[in-house]
């Protein structure tokens, strides 16, 4: 196919046009597909954490644990909430920059920062939860094995999460090579 033919094939790509009302709805934050998903996650987390905060004292013997252990549990929940809120801000922030090259650069540094926060907050949540639930346990061999299994699960989760972020960062870096 000749390049002229390709150009005309590209330029005459007719698809069902969208109505103004449909486009107008797309301009709203509440209908944005990614933001909608994060908001749903925030609501679910909010409800779960509120319930946990009201119940942990009786349900998980919070009254028998030292105060700093209780503080750590609250810190774990806050880590998770702050992480979700920052994710929302990142998705909402959009792309900035006067050229694609600049936009990719800006997005890459934002993504790197958020990826770091994401992994640190997950480590924080895992550490605080483990500390809370093991703080007044008298360990037996069986319980040590159980703890080791839990730590392994958290480590695998954190590795998978890091892998997802590295993939996204690599994707942008690869695209940036075309603009260097």
């Amino acid at each position: 196919m000749e390049l002229d033919t390709l150009q005309s094939a590209w330029q005459n790509n007719e698809l069902a046009p969208k109505e103004n009302s449909e486009i107008s709805a797309m301009m709203r934050e509440r209908t944005h597909p990614v933001l909608k998903g994060i908001r749903r996650q925030m609501i679910i987390e909010g409800i779960a954490f509120t319930f946990l905060l009201f119940a942990y004292y009786d349900l998980f013997d919070g009254d028998q644990k030292p105060i700093y252990v209780n503080v750590l549990l609250v810190a774990a929940m806050l880590f998770a909430l702050v992480h979700t809120i920052m994710g929302y801000k990142l998705a909402k922030g959009g792309v900035t920059g006067s050229t694609i090259k600049q936009a990719l650069n800006n997005q890459l540094s934002k993504l790197k920062g958020y990826a770091l926060i994401s992994v640190i907050s997950r480590v924080g949540v895992a550490g605080c939860l483990l500390f809370f639930f093991t703080s007044i346990i008298s360990f037996t061999t069986q319980k040590y094995w159980l703890l080791a299994a839990m730590i392994l699960i958290f480590v695998v989760q954190i590795m998978l999460l890091s892998g997802i972020w590295l993939k996204r960062i690599r994707q942008i870096k690869n695209a940036m090579e075309s603009f260097s």
Binding site: L3, I23, H32, P33, A91, V95, T99, I100, S178
Partner: protein, 155 residues
């Protein structure tokens, strides 16, 4: 920018968004999500549009940046072969030609897709340099390489 003139401009140029979505996403659901993301980000960036360049030039810059950086849902990967299936004769039907063109374009990496999209749209080197942040001579060098690759794929 007010909402009404913005909507009119988007209406005039929405073909650009459709083409970018088709170029960067495989499923119709993903294209729809990207379309919405682009419209949302264009509206958010609209106050920064000072009218020094054409609306379509500005739109290409924002839309391509969003398409490259936007979050992609995990889907089964579609694998494209290094060459397109052999055909007995060149496609005559415009839709078939478009289908072949997009199949070839999808094999490029994200950055090259952006450059070739601007070329196919008929933008000159100066406009392409303004959008991408490359120098004009660099645009020329890179485009030649991409065009050769496309022609190889379409052989």
């Amino acid at each position: 920018m007010e909402e009404v003139p913005f909507l009119q401009l988007i209406d005039q140029h929405q073909g650009i968004i459709h083409k970018i979505c088709r170029l960067y996403r495989d499923s119709s659901e993903d294209r729809e999500d990207l379309f919405q993301d682009i419209v949302y980000q264009l509206w958010k960036s609209a106050p920064a549009f000072e009218g020094r360049s054409k609306f379509s030039t500005w739109m290409y810059r924002v839309a391509l940046s969003v398409a490259i950086t936007a979050f992609r849902k995990k889907r089964p990967a579609i694998r494209y072969t290094a060459t397109l299936p052999e055909k007995h004769e060149a496609a005559e039907d415009p839709e078939e030609q478009r289908e072949q063109l997009f199949k070839a374009l999808k094999q490029l990496d994200d950055g090259d897709k952006a450059l070739i999209a601007l070329y196919l749209e008929g933008l000159n080197y100066q406009e392409m340099a303004e959008i991408t942040g490359l120098t004009e001579s660099n645009v020329g060098v890179k485009l030649n390489r991409i065009k050769k690759k496309i022609q190889q794929l379409l052989k």
